[in-house]
């Protein structure tokens, strides 16, 4: 099954293209464990993709593959038209730094560093203007996520929502073409989660980056334009979320009409 971003064959080259990707891990004294099997997926710039699935269904493994943190066992993964296997270690790291922004469930801010230093971290691995003007760029980014007044705050002095905002600013500060969000609202209450998702949607739309969100929250998944479900390592279209999304759209439309 092909989960193409666009039916139009002549469209722009996909940013990510997975063809029949499997990922297995070798276990001691047990047969190899298949985590992903036959995954085919294409993501282009501007796409909004949600992937839902139960715990242990392989969501994070898929995200690691998409973020060039891991290699498929079989099948092919093209990043920007280039096979991921052909990247050298350092090249892979540099491409990841330049083109991919991660948002983690546990925020993963660097403790002991201020909000500003956290957002500056990815810029430390950049070159040229991004590197030398990192402080200014990071301040602007924090301002954009509404934390312009908390530049010097340490993570443990920030609320969960604020920490996730810092994490969002950090993932977007280098202007990535692909944003990978792993349960971005998992550690937040409903309201804060909604606000954070609004922010992610906004900045992703403004930068034109592709957004892949992994979640087990149907409401968060419904915000995407393409809805996928991972079940026992198999990726397929998620009709349930799509229906929910349509329902939400109808509700919204009805709400506006009344």
């Amino acid at each position: 099954m092909t989960l193409d971003s666009s039916a139009d064959e002549t469209g722009p080259q996909p940013l990510l293209e997975l063809t029949e990707v499997t990922r297995t891990v070798q276990l001691i004294d047990a047969p190899p464990l298949t985590i992903l099997s036959g995954v085919t997926l294409s993501v282009s710039v501007g796409d909004r993709v949600s992937i839902v699935g139960r715990s242990g269904s392989g969501k994070t493994t898929l995200l690691n593959l998409l973020g060039l943190l891991d290699n498929p066992t079989t099948g092919e993964l093209l990043f920007d038209g280039r096979p991921a296997r052909s990247f050298s270690g350092a090249e892979r790291d540099r491409v990841r730094g330049r083109d991919v922004g991660f948002i983690f469930q546990q925020f993963n801010l660097l403790q002991g560093r201020t909000a500003l230093e956290n957002v500056m971290t990815p810029l430390l691995y950049a070159e040229g203007r991004q590197f030398w003007q990192r402080s200014r760029i990071a301040s602007e980014m924090l301002d954009r996520v509404g934390l312009g007044h908390r530049l010097q705050a340490l993570p443990d002095r920030l609320s969960g929502g604020e920490q996730q905002r810092v994490a969002i600013a950090r993932s977007l500060v280098r202007g990535p073409r692909l944003i990978l969000a792993d349960e971005p609202t998992g550690a937040l209450d409903l309201e804060t989660g909604e606000a954070v998702m609004d922010l992610i949607d906004d900045v992703a739309r403004a930068s034109g980056a592709a957004l892949v969100t992994i979640t087990h929250d149907p409401a968060i998944a419904a915000r995407a334009t393409r809805h996928l479900r991972l079940d026992h390592g198999v990726l397929q279209a998620d009709a349930e979320t799509a229906a929910l999304a349509r329902g939400t759209t109808r509700e919204l439309t009805a709400g506006r009409a009344t």
Partner: protein, 418 residues
Amino acid sequence: MNRLLSNLVGAFVEAWQEVRIHKTRVMLSLIGVAVAVCAITTVVGLGAVAQQATLEQSERQSGRPASVQVYASTFDGSAPAPEVMKEVWQTALERYEITYASRVTPTSQMVQFADGAASVATTGVDVPYGTMHRVKMSEGSWFTDADTARLAPAVLVNSIFYDRIGRPDLATHPTTTLLGDRDTTAVITGVFPAQGWEQEPAMYLLTDSLTALAAPVTAAPTDAMSAVNYFGPPTYELWVPPELADPIIAALQRDVSAALGDGATADVYRTDYASWTGGEDPYLSLKLLVGGVAGLVLLLGALGLVNIALVTLKQRIREIGIRRSFGATAGRVFFSVMMESVVATVAAGIVGVIAAVLIVKNPWIEGLIGQGQVTDFPAFPVEAAIIGLVSATAVGALAGLVPALVAVRVKVIDAIRY
């Protein structure tokens, strides 16, 4: 180039952040390194002062490198006639354009003190002798060319002599009476410190003044005990650049022998310490010992650093994973972790070197090591500071190597979930 520069600066920034955040831990682990660097630098620095003290001591006694002495004798064992030698000497000095040269005449002279007359060890010298032997004056100044024209001869006395006459102010031009067939009043124009082992008064006179004093008596030195101012022939000393010493020795040997003619011989040889120690450092073994102990302290400090770095690395695996996910290459992580250690030890090294400078240049320590024998205290040796900083950096790099290798092996995926 751009990438290299931003990588270098970036790694330094990361390392500095890490050191800043864990400053207490870092400071504790660095005390050992700072102490060791301080010890190494101090040993090298004090070694230089002690060496200077020994060197000046040697130079006071046997002259600065290269000091050359001319000894002439006839085959019957007597000295050549003074007038002949004077002539030969003057010619040689002019021919080879030697600026620093002195006749040295050790003798004794009866001097009238308040508590009676006493024999005083006296050395007749020429003006350059002061520079040639680094004579250090505690009061007044060494002879100048103007002193040769004085009617009342100038005399420089040692501190024992000076104490015995009641330490009069030199500005009042104190005099002393040199006894002889005809008493002479001499003006004391300077005081030099007595060496530690000296207990008797001593003085310097210019050779020409001494000759003028002695002239009436040399004819009749009948009784050694009553010889108030008997003296033998002077020795002739030169101070020449060390690289010219050998050719000058050969030339003087030839010239003086030729000038004295048959029946006389000239011996020309070096007297300074450099000609017999072969430039060996007398403090080498002590330096090696203290340096070795400091090296061990440094090693222990480094082990402490490695230990703490490894323990804290466990807590930092997640952080390394996060950095990798934002584009840090394995090389960059390696370099950053290594730099943390280097940045920290270099900071400790700077502290250690500053402490060492304060110790070595402390007037009390200088006095203790120099034992009053050093005129030119050497500036804090640059090589000591460099040795201190280089060893600090090397220890930092070595101590950083192990945690850096561990950090590179961190698997990004596992680290983020850690």
